[in-house]
Subunit: 314 residues, 2 copies
């Protein structure tokens, strides 16, 4: 029998599902996107995914028996055995997406993982940390996600909370509550919403002049752009974000001590101001580690998830 | 050829080297202790270890060829390949203890690991977490050591700093410096010296009455004993220790999400007051994790190191 030549990577998000068809070396052959239909407890999502996979394989004249398997990134905790206890983003509860999707695709192998973990695997497979086996990825978007790769494998944790770096508590004194209900999570400072909140807090609590004052719908991009342009208040908000990211990264380094940190997500488009700022605080907070991990910007963008999902199978 | 029946576990400390002879199931057959001679850059330590192993095997009528190998715990960072860049506790620098000891013992297999990591492996092998594959151990002594076992294996990290949990920064505002030079490391609060320092700080900065006042050479044991007896100031010092341990443990759980935390070292003799206190803060700081890791007291005491060292080979 001939070796199976293809794998499919699926990255399920709250509004759309990204899909990639890869060859056995992890080279992307084709990609497509379908809407995420969340009605009926997310019951139709995997049926839609299966149908689109079948259609795409047919278009490429590929038989299901030539596909080694499908990897799936899920926007919520996934236990080591593929079980999803609860995924509010999709409506799933006590669900085994790997088994459900496999049954829909002639029983081929399906493996599921948390989306942030899978994105980290993608960046360590074909992205900023290609070929690096010990990588921590921080995804800075509306929230903050994390993924940890040790020895080339995802650390998913016993309760599916491995790499939940956005909820590392960096400031127990924080008066505001995080979305998770806790106080002082990294996500409250290091996300797009976090850096805007910090800028607003500085505007409300100080007299500092700033070009940010008077902007009604302030965005994270504006805060970073003004910081780069020399605005002191914006720079201070960015510095706070970098400080907490440097602190959390140092504490993660004292735990799993990776080779490289990869910074991704929408906020990472700010570029070097971010990696330079984080590195400098990391240096200070990881005093005891002589040879240090480096910080790089993610390179796969929104495709990190499909690459990582494919790698779950490859 | 017959299967090799024995392994030796060696735990090198700053003042003495503990050694254990184990059978293939990890049952301790005999143990012995020799002084650590640190002169000449620690050059004689492994010669002494090798001689004592040979003498002990001879006493048990065991041939070197029946020994599968020797595991060694080292009080400093050990890289994944066994290389020790610098170990101030022993005087070693750019040293390969595994290769040196193997050459002294007819070329049998030798594996080295950091002592705190090796102790964690010991507790997950035959101690408080026997049979548990995902375990984090915190050793509370003069300092604070840590060890992380994921999937039954030590996470030693790329730069040998995996599990350096004593140097997780829990309070960047701390004015005093840690031994490592940083400010606000867990070790500054959660060690024997840390809880005494906290009690003194409370005595100096408040008017609280306390049975600890007037004790010249205050010990950690006295602080814990008085806290158990209801002394408010002592209880506050213990509470601070538990708070920072709960915070650091929660942040470690958000990183590697273990099944169990094991608390060992001299301070752990304080007992339930410690595990209950830490658990309660852990609960608060790990809000996002629904099913939680549990906290247990270590059970192997000073033998954790030799058991873990033996497990490096078994």
């Amino acid at each position: 029998m001939q070796k199976k030549k293809y794998v499919v990577g699926v990255d399920i998000g709250g509004t759309s599902v990204k899909n990639g068809l890869f060859d056995e070396n992890g080279t992307l052959i084709d990609k497509w996107e379908i809407p995420t239909r969340k009605e009926n407890g997310g019951d139709t999502i995997l049926k839609d995914v299966a149908e689109a996979i079948e259609a795409n394989l047919a278009a490429h004249d590929i038989k299901m028996s030539d596909v080694a398997g499908v990897g799936v990134g899920v926007p919520g905790p996934v236990q080591g055995d593929g079980f999803v206890p609860h995924c509010p983003n999709l409506g799933w509860r006590d669900y085994h997406p790997d088994r459900v999707l496999s049954a829909l695709l002639d029983g081929i192998e399906v493996k599921a993982g948390n989306d942030a973990n899978v994105a980290a695997l993608g960046e360590s497979f074909k992205g900023a940390a290609a070929g690096v086996d010990n990588v921590v990825m921080l995804t800075l978007g509306t929230g903050v996600g994390g993924g940890i790769i040790i020895g080339g494998k995802i650390v998913d944790g016993v309760h599916g909370a491995g790499g939940e770096l956005g909820h590392i508590v960096v400031n127990p004194e924080e008066p505001l509550a995080c979305n998770c209900g806790n106080h002082g999570c990294l996500e409250q400072y290091a996300s797009a919403t976090g850096v805007v909140r910090m800028a607003r807090r500085l505007m409300n609590s100080t007299d500092m002049g700033s070009s940010l004052r008077g902007i009604a719908d302030l965005t994270a991009k504006q805060v970073f752009d003004e910081a780069k342009a020399g605005d002191e208040l914006a720079a201070k908000a960015v510095d706070t974000l970098c400080m907490y990211l440097g602190l959390a990264s140092a504490n993660v380094a004292m735990t799993v001590d990776p080779d490289e940190f990869v910074i991704g997500g929408g906020v990472s488009r700010a570029g070097d101001i971010l990696t330079n700022g984080i590195s400098s605080y990391f240096e200070r907070f990881s005093h005891i580690i002589h040879k240090k991990a480096t910080f790089k910007l993610a390179t796969l963008g929104n495709d990190a998830g499909i690459y990582g999902a494919a790698k779950l199978i490859l």
